[in-house]
């Protein structure tokens, strides 16, 4: 892998002179011969290649990763700077461009190496100012005098911008963390008040299976109404929409497929809500007890009233074998329907599946 941020080490094992070209070639994953060729070409440009090579030999760490000492570093940097100035002079650029380039290079290096960011930013900003103002000589700068304030502002932004950005990021992250921890605290409180209490009770009353079943059933109901509040169920405002939401809920909770078909629709009122709740209970029963992977639901609404059919191809059951304390069928389904003037018909054949038909005739206005 090429790590651009690291200064490559010299590679003396494959060296021709000091291992500079070999080291750069290895770090950039290119043939060292190409690097050597580049140095040779630059050497033709007034000897710049030779000066650069010497500076690199001074500045690059040896293959053991030992960085150059202070004296060696200073010598190398001076050589590099002199070379740069000579090259820029040779190109015939005005002095302020040269200064600006030097400042920008120094600043960029500091920013890049992630040291002294503020100093680096100030250097880059000053470079921009010098470049645009022509070193204080009024109209001779690249941008003319009008750009001076803009140059300052730009420079300032370069210095302060990264800091502002980081601060904003930190604050957003902090906010997310706080919301998350508040949520976790709320869930923990809820679990403690309900689930953990119930589990403690169950442990104490483990000898009485009936009581254990009762406790766990009550807990399940409570937890479910918390996970799926009825507001969610009825958010769509129509009978068919609510049936669809109930189906989605059962799918999520029990991992079965619920196919919903419908014809017609009706507005939600207390009666239709009761039908939806009864239908949800029927879907939940099918999902839990039938063993079927798919449940078919058909909801229809017309002038005569509304009906829901919940059908599975699972194990089926014998009504007379259901213990009377199992309230799901008699209370949550049949009771709900009859209290609203409707009816629930359950037809089940062991081995072939079950169909629950809920119907509510339209009331005379």
């Amino acid at each position: 892998m090429v790590d651009v941020a690291a200064i490559p080490a010299r590679d003396r094992a494959n060296r021709v002179v000091a291992g500079v070209a070999a080291g750069i070639g290895r770090a950039l994953d290119v043939d060292p011969t190409l690097v050597r060729l580049l140095f040779a070409l630059l050497a033709l440009a007034g000897g710049a290649g030779i000066a650069l090579y010497l500076a690199a030999a001074l500045l690059m760490p040896d293959e053991l990763g030992k960085r150059p000492g202070r004296m060696r570093f200073a010598a190398g940097m001076t050589l590099l700077l002199l070379t740069a100035v000579a090259v820029l002079n040779g190109l015939g650029l005005p002095w302020f461009v040269q200064v600006s380039a030097a400042l920008a290079a120094g600043g960029a290096l500091l920013l890049w190496r992630k040291q002294q960011r503020v100093l680096g930013g100030v250097l880059v900003a000053t470079a921009a100012v010098v470049l645009f103002t022509g070193g204080g000589r009024g109209d001779s700068g690249v941008g003319g005098p009008l750009l001076t304030p803009a140059a300052f502002a730009g420079g300032l932004l370069l210095v302060v911008g990264p800091w502002l950005w980081r601060t904003a990021q930190d604050r957003a992250a902090e906010r997310t963390r706080r919301i998350r921890s508040e949520e976790r605290a709320e869930v923990a409180a809820r679990v403690h008040d309900s689930v953990l209490q119930t589990l403690a009770l169950i442990q104490r009353e483990a000898a009485d299976p009936k009581r254990v079943e009762q406790l766990s059933r009550r807990q399940e109901r409570e937890l479910r109404s918390w996970l799926f509040p009825e507001g969610e169920l009825f958010k769509d405002d129509t009978f068919v929409g609510a049936i669809g939401n109930a189906a989605a809920e059962v799918e999520e909770l029990h991992g079965v497929r619920v196919e919903v078909a419908s014809a017609g629709n009706a507005p939600l009122d207390d009666d239709t809500r009761a039908v939806v709740l009864a239908a949800r209970e029927a879907m939940g029963n099918a999902a839990r007890f039938s063993g079927a992977e798919e449940i078919s639901v058909y909801a229809e609404a017309d002038g005569d009233g509304i009906s829901v059919f919940v059908r599975d191809r699972g194990t089926g059951f014998d009504r007379t074998a259901v213990p009377p304390e199992r309230r799901g069928l008699s209370e949550s389904i049949e009771g709900r329907m009859t209290r609203r003037g409707g009816s629930a018909t359950i037809s089940s054949t062991p081995g072939q599946g079950t169909e629950v038909e809920l119907s509510l005739p339209r009331k005379a206005p």
Binding site: E259, V260, A261, S262, A263, V297, Y298, E300, G303, F309
Partner: protein, 212 residues
């Protein structure tokens, strides 16, 4: 065993096409796949399959555009519409354009294989959803204009309601004391009415659905 049916799958999701291929039984041979209307028309015309599995929504048009492009040249090719869960009016539009049925993508491989054979034999395939849509579309209380085409018979309604409730053809047959063949005839007759009816309610119904 029935003869292998040659099919083309038209769906813009490559993963879904690959999934379908692996799910379909040995009695189905996939002779081509396309992801757009533009790819599908020349492919279907060239391969001349028994059945095209057609996604209701494609990036460059609805499934009905494929039917309109293919039918003049290959009138024998039959289409089965397939989708995740689309608006009723889009599904009805594809069926009225000539698809011989509609099923949802959650259908099991075994049931889909059966549906493909049924469509290839010239019968109709209605998913519970489509049955609900059709009952809805034909159930307005408007006076009858062309009684022959514009109304469903009581028997047809019964059959459609049982399909909507998730019954298979065999179960419908035993529940209504009919033969499976008679059930198929009823469904085909509903399909014909759906495709040929000029009934105003169908358009108005679609327009109303769009507004909801």
């Amino acid at each position: 065993m029935k003869a292998a049916r040659r099919i083309v799958i038209v769906d813009d999701h490559g993963i879904f096409r690959a999934g379908l291929r692996s799910e379909l039984g040995d009695s189905i041979e996939v002779v081509g796949e396309a992801g757009t209307v533009g790819e599908a028309i020349p492919l279907v015309v060239e391969t001349d399959p028994d059945v095209v599995l057609l996604d209701v929504h494609l990036p460059d048009g609805g499934g009905q555009a494929v039917i309109a492009g293919v039918s003049p040249e290959r009138p024998g090719v039959r289409f089965l519409a397939l989708s995740v869960s689309d608006a009723a009016e889009d599904v009805i539009a594809v069926v009225r354009a000539g698809a011989r049925g509609y099923v949802t993508k959650t259908i099991s491989g075994e049931e889909l294989t059966e549906a493909i054979h049924r469509v290839a034999d010239g019968d109709a395939v209605f998913s519970p959803r489509l049955a609900g849509f059709v009952l809805d579309a034909f159930s307005s209380g408007e006076p009858i204009r062309d009684a022959e085409l514009d109304e469903l018979t009581a028997r047809e309604r019964e059959v459609l309601r049982l399909i909507a409730r998730g019954y298979r053809y065999k179960e419908i047959a035993s529940s209504l004391h009919l033969s499976v063949k008679t059930v198929e005839t009823h469904v085909s007759s509903v399909l014909r009415k759906l495709q040929l009816s000029s009934r105003h309610e169908l358009t108005r119904w679609a327009a109303e659905r769009r507004m909801i």
